[in-house]
Amino acid sequence: MQASRLPAYVDILVIPLLNLLTALFVAGIIIAIIGENPFTALSIMLKGAFIYKGGLGYTLFYTTNFIFTGLAVAVAFHAMLFNIGGEGQAAMGGLGIGLVALGLGGILPVPIVILLAIIGSAIFGAIWGVIPGYLQAKRGSHIVITTIMFNFIASSIMIWLLAGLLMAPNQMSPETVSFADGVMLFKIHQILNSMGFSVARSPLNLSFVLALLCCFAVWVLIWRTRFGYRIRATGFSTKASAYGGYRPEWIIILVMAISGGLAGMMAVNEILGVQHRVILNFTSGYGFTGIAVALMGRNHPVGIIFASLLFGALYQGGAELDFEFQTITRDMVIMIQGLIILFSGALAYMFNPFLERIFLANKGQKEPENG
């Protein structure tokens, strides 16, 4: 990672904004080409994401997914590990929830089952992160390759189980039976309605709160604990980590456990929050989008919350475009989302040289006598 010479506010505010605007500009051109008004489309996207009945709920629901997967990528990245196995770790997290909820639901009290299910998701996700971590640390197998392969393995395991052992009888979808009554997280609209606010129904559930707690926990872990210090030291310099006596290989394994656990907890939102049964492909690519989220959020929990909100709004507002325009199909929407991921993720630093010229030129002239 190259240290940016730009002022911090440019790095965390101006650049993401500029990237977003560029992406919207390109998307706008495409919308104009197919004959729709780009400004109408943008306003429908925004209204769909934040204003229409239940829109915000859905936006925050998707945001929750992205927070978990984005944090997972970010934590690993602080140890300079590129965990792109969020997809598989989340799928295994779903399996963890399913096994706990189906095995213990109805036997133990509901709150305990829920708690164990959440822990189960984290543990299953962590296991799916630890194995590539171990292979990286002890065998030198590159984490990018192994995490990709573990996505496929997780997918195959889920197919095998959901179309076989765990498949619900008398129906045709590869999914488990529904969890016992009550083994689910409260929906935010239910809570707010019971408090007297009238809020539209949406899948937004308590996982959102859990996600925010995880953000805080990650912040504390990375910047306020001695272990976090070791993680960052290892990430910046393996040699310095060895010099400090931090055993880089153990740090890699532990960080991958934490990263996998966070990705696994994405399943809490989808499975425990909404589906109440384990279904196939509930990860829907959120694990991969988490990479873009972490990049855009500069691997900082606060940045990740905002980036997740952006992507959540994009998912929800994008669906709204499909509702409103006959000409804008869902493939079009995916393309627009792709553009934003491209500009704010893959091309995140495209404007750096340009901005550096502007900001550093001014700076140099202002303080000539210093030095």
Partner: protein
Amino acid sequence: MLDKINKVKREHIIKNGDESSPFAISLIDICKSFGPVQANDAISLDVTRGTIHGIIGENGAGKSTLMSIIYGFYKPDSGMIKVAGTPVSFKQPSDAISLGIGMVHQHFMLVPNFTALENIILGSEGKKGLKSGLYAARKKLKELSQTYGLEVDLDSITEDLPVGIQQRIEILKALYRGAKVLILDEPTGVLTPQETERLFEILNALKSEGVTILLITHKLHEVMAITDVVSVMRQGKLVAHTKTKETNSEWLAEQMVGRSVLVNIQYPKGNPKHIALSAEKVSVTDKRGFDSLKNVSFDLHAGEILGIAGISGNGQSELLSVLSGIIQPAAGQFKIAEELFDATHHADPQKVRQLGVAHVPEDRHAEGLILQFQAFESAILGYEKSPNLGVKLLTDPNINRTYCAQLMDSFDVRPQNPTLLSSQFSGGNQQKLILAREISSMPKVLLVGQPTRGVDIGAIEFIHNTLISMRDSGCAIIVVSVELEEILSLSDRIMVMNAGEVVGTVNKQDATKPMLGKMMAGMTLNVAEKGV
């Protein structure tokens, strides 16, 4: 139109040089700043054709920035560069190369697994088939090496060659590209005394063929030995400019630091007491199965400094790594504070630290601190567990900042700003910060690798004094250094290493520079003594 004239003129310069100008390079009011740091401040300088021009200054004085500007790597904020009297503007190094300016970097820019020939023609392969290009290059290089005495086996793999030869490859590469002006950045940092002498012969040969040489260094004796003209830089400014014949090293040193300093002090001998650390037949095998350390045995006493001399890469680094617990011995054992470590009972850095061993690593940038960390974070590397730096599992940045400010204050680290990135400090200040961190743990044994590599004179003095006073207070110290003067100045005893083995150990009063040089090349003590 003007462009066209410039182009024609440029081509002329490339072919013939502009005979009307006596100066190979002229700088006029060059300014360059990085953020708040003014690296070059109104530098004006004329470099006469066919001379060796020394540029000296402390680390962070702006020498490297200035050279990078001449080489087209940085663009100056203001000011003008003239090559052979013609104003030029470089967008990238290739512009400078095309005008006959070549640079040999401090850290070589060579592909390790290429042959020497491949490395030399890298970037100027020609457009036709590689093979015919190689043939032509070989012919041209043969002429070049004969003219300047730059013997290199063109077909050897670069990484197998000694650093001195690798440096020759860099020089050949620059000449092959038509360099008439050669910039050498700290060229002797990695060389043995013998290799350094050989390099100076080559530089003189180049000079006699009309090549202009800019030599960047902070070693005064080298400037005195080889340059014709010397310019001194301090804090981004050019503070002195003189013919070498008309000056002396004391005066130059004063100009560099802005006050008078003592060069090459002979410190009084220490007062060795009990054995603090002992090694017995320690061997280390690296990943490739190569024995980087063979049967090393020695005792280290409290209150003495054991200097370890040797050309870099002869086992000194591994010795420090083993003693500090970073790597494990394949055989043999060593004892620290009554605890015995060997191939089965492993030491690790945390444990060794608890036993009172502090370690100032050789590689400041990769090991000693973390460049991307703020200073206060680098100031606790290895000590972040210390109970006074936080509560239980947590650390407290405020406490760390205060702690770092104290260290900076007592060790005169400048700028005294704990939140500055570690990379933003000069080499000397980085080293002082590391020393502060390690010494503040009150160690019984102090392992120091290259205490003053790339460190300016003012800081060298401070670091040396600190080490001596640590010794006098009863600390056992090992100093590994490639600087023979440093070893001779600091050590009570000197252990010379070659190819992973101890060649011999001599007392300070018996040691001379030529003798140590021969031992570093692998001759045993007896043979070396006879040669004196």
